[in-house]
Amino acid sequence: MNIFVCVKQVPDTETKIIPTSDGSFIETASIKWIMNPYDEFAVEQALLVKAANPAANVTVIRVGSVKDTEALRTAMAMGADDAALVEAGDNLDSYSIAKALKGAIEKSGKKPDIVLAGKQAIDDDALQVPQILAEMLGLPSVSVIVGFELNGSTVKVKREIEGGALEVYEVATPVVLAANKGLNTPRYASLPGIMKAKKKPMAQYSLADVGVSDADRRVKYSGFKLPPEKPAGKKFDATDAAKQKEVVAQVVGLLRTEAKVL
């Protein structure tokens, strides 16, 4: 069984984001990169399947810049068997990324049975790549999954929809699945795992190697800027029990007369 996990490297949530002076993207020199949090659930799910099916092979793939290969090494330290990196700039659109992932899967020479990814990456929050990849591979897909059960060549997955309701799908492999928080609890990489990961094979390709060119861009992002600063709000002290009712009434009144939201 061949399992592919698509991972992205994204700025750590705490990182301060500074647009470049020409607005073409953001300053990336001092950013701390991490594996996209949703991708950790995808990696973990692949490893859980491998634990139950020891013959399974787990390949992690990433499209992005080479300056840091943290995400792929982390995934291999968690237990993935091998990795592929498609070297690319930072500001690619979802269509180009999906096409590069497809190219990398084909380059491996392995036919995918399960392709996993996080439901979205917390840099562009586009929520597109798994579905585009599925369509490009001609495979069914289920996104935002919070439950996974493999029975032979059929998977039963739960997709979280509005209000926390769940759609239960049954689908034969091969299939593309996009993971949400709640699917599992990702493991930490062990020290021996980290040592072993250094020796695991990592294929490296250029975008051209996997058949992607500038002509594949569908969405152009530019003019990166900080959002307008919100003017300072009004703060009221309601710690004094005698004044609480008055203060709250005042705020509720302002919500209608000033903010006009009620």
């Binding site: 700025p11 949530t13 984001i17 953001i26 949090p37 659109d93 979802s94 917390i122 840099d123 929050d125 586009a126 929520l127 579905q131 585009i132 599925a134 369509e135 069914p140 897909s141 289920v142 996104s143 935002v144 739960k158 509005e162 209000g163 926390g164 309701a165 769940l166 759609e167 239960v168 799908y169 049954e170 689908v171 928080k181 709640g182 861009r217 569908r218 969405v219 152009k220 992002y221 530019s222 003019g223 990166f224 800027k225 900080l226 959002p227 709000g233 009004k234 703060k235 009221f236 002290d237 309601a238 710690t239 609480q244 009712k245 709250v248 009434a249 509720v252 903010a259 939201v261 009620l262």
Partner: protein
């Protein structure tokens, strides 16, 4: 002028408000609407009032409930039979899942989760957040048409006095094609309230709620306001609320008109999910809590005394 198709979903028989937001913003373009199944005359009228020319009701076998492939196949076939420059939809649960797949059937691009846009000269130019709203960027589409756009609910707002369209409704025979990933069962949510991502008002609780039972006071306030209840990651991780209620990074990104944060300190992960709310009210005992730097109205005080008082004030104001 561009020819635009707006895909809409129904919720309890009503078109989702984001559809009307999109139609209003498309004033000056020629806009049709596509919907799966039947839709009431009052809903067609609501769409027409916001500018819908034709309302296409797609009907066929295996289209009574959502499936990524069935909906994408049927819409692709319909769109190919027309001449649309753009296809818009809400960045809803279905929209997020469906539109990337549908766009790829045309080898076309999708600008997703757009929060504002113009159509000067019939050409789309949008704005969308990056890095959880820490940044904004311009978004443009290139390559084969039609071009696809998904819009974040509540971001555009309703357009007052939109130019009405003809609102001509007609059935379309639609073909779901082969469906491999089919829904076997739907497990209903315990709550019937509007989803967080589409809610107009949200009342959210943090770690200071102390336990799950205490969320009852937020539910009471939410019922008065017609709001949906959310929670911070700290509250979810402490087991006070299910993950479906989480607002923030690794939870839902929301943009309501009014967000009331109760006992939420305002960790960056939480701010990431709610910073684009139009008006933010924060209640916290700690006067230095970071949430106050984002709040339009901050109340320093104990939520357990403030929330019930506020609920009473809302009742008076709204005549309930």
């Amino acid at each position: 002028m561009a020819n635009v198709l707006v895909f809409t979903e129904l919720h309890d028989g009503h078109v989702k408000p984001v559809t009307l937001e999109i139609l209003g913003k498309l004033a000056g373009q020629s806009a049709d609407v596509a919907v799966f199944g039947d839709i009431g005359a009052d809903q067609v009228a609501a769409l027409a009032k916001c500018g819908a020319q034709n309302v296409h009701k797609l009907k066929g076998a295996n289209l009574d409930k959502y499936s990524p492939e069935g909906y994408a196949n049927a819409l692709a076939e319909f769109i190919k039979s027309k001449n649309y420059d753009y296809v818009f939809g809400g960045a809803t649960s279905i929209g997020k899942d469906l539109l990337p797949r549908l766009a790829t059937k045309f080898d076309a691009g999708l600008a997703s989760d757009v929060t504002n846009f113009t159509m000067d000269g019939g050409v789309f130019a949008g704005t969308r957040p990056f890095f959880s709203g820490k940044c904004l960027a311009k978004v443009e589409l290139t390559g084969p048409k039609p071009h696809f756009v998904s819009i974040r609910p509540n971001a555009l707002g309703m357009t007052e006095g939109a130019t009405a369209g003809a609102g001509t409704a007609a059935d379309v025979n639609a073909n779901a094609g082969d469906i491999r990933a089919m829904i076997k069962e739907i497990v209903k949510a315990t709550s019937t309230k509007t989803d967080l991502t589409e809610a107009n008002i949200i009342v959210s609780g943090g770690r200071a709620m102390k336990n799950a039972e205490n969320f009852a006071i937020l539910n009471t306030m939410a019922d008065v306001l017609g709001a949906t209840v959310g929670a911070s990651r700290a509250a979810v991780d402490s087991g006070f609320a299910p993950h479906a209620m989480q607002v923030g990074q690794t939870g839902k990104t929301v943009a309501p008109s009014l967000y009331i944060a109760c006992g939420i300190s305002g960790a960056i992960q939480h701010l990431a999910g709610m910073r684009t709310s139009k008006v933010i009210v924060a209640i916290n005992t700690d006067p230095d809590a970071p949430i106050f730097t984002k709040a339009d109205y901050g109340i320093v005080g104990d939520l357990f005394t403030i929330v019930p008082i506020m609920t009473e004030e809302f009742k008076k104001l709204l005549g309930k």
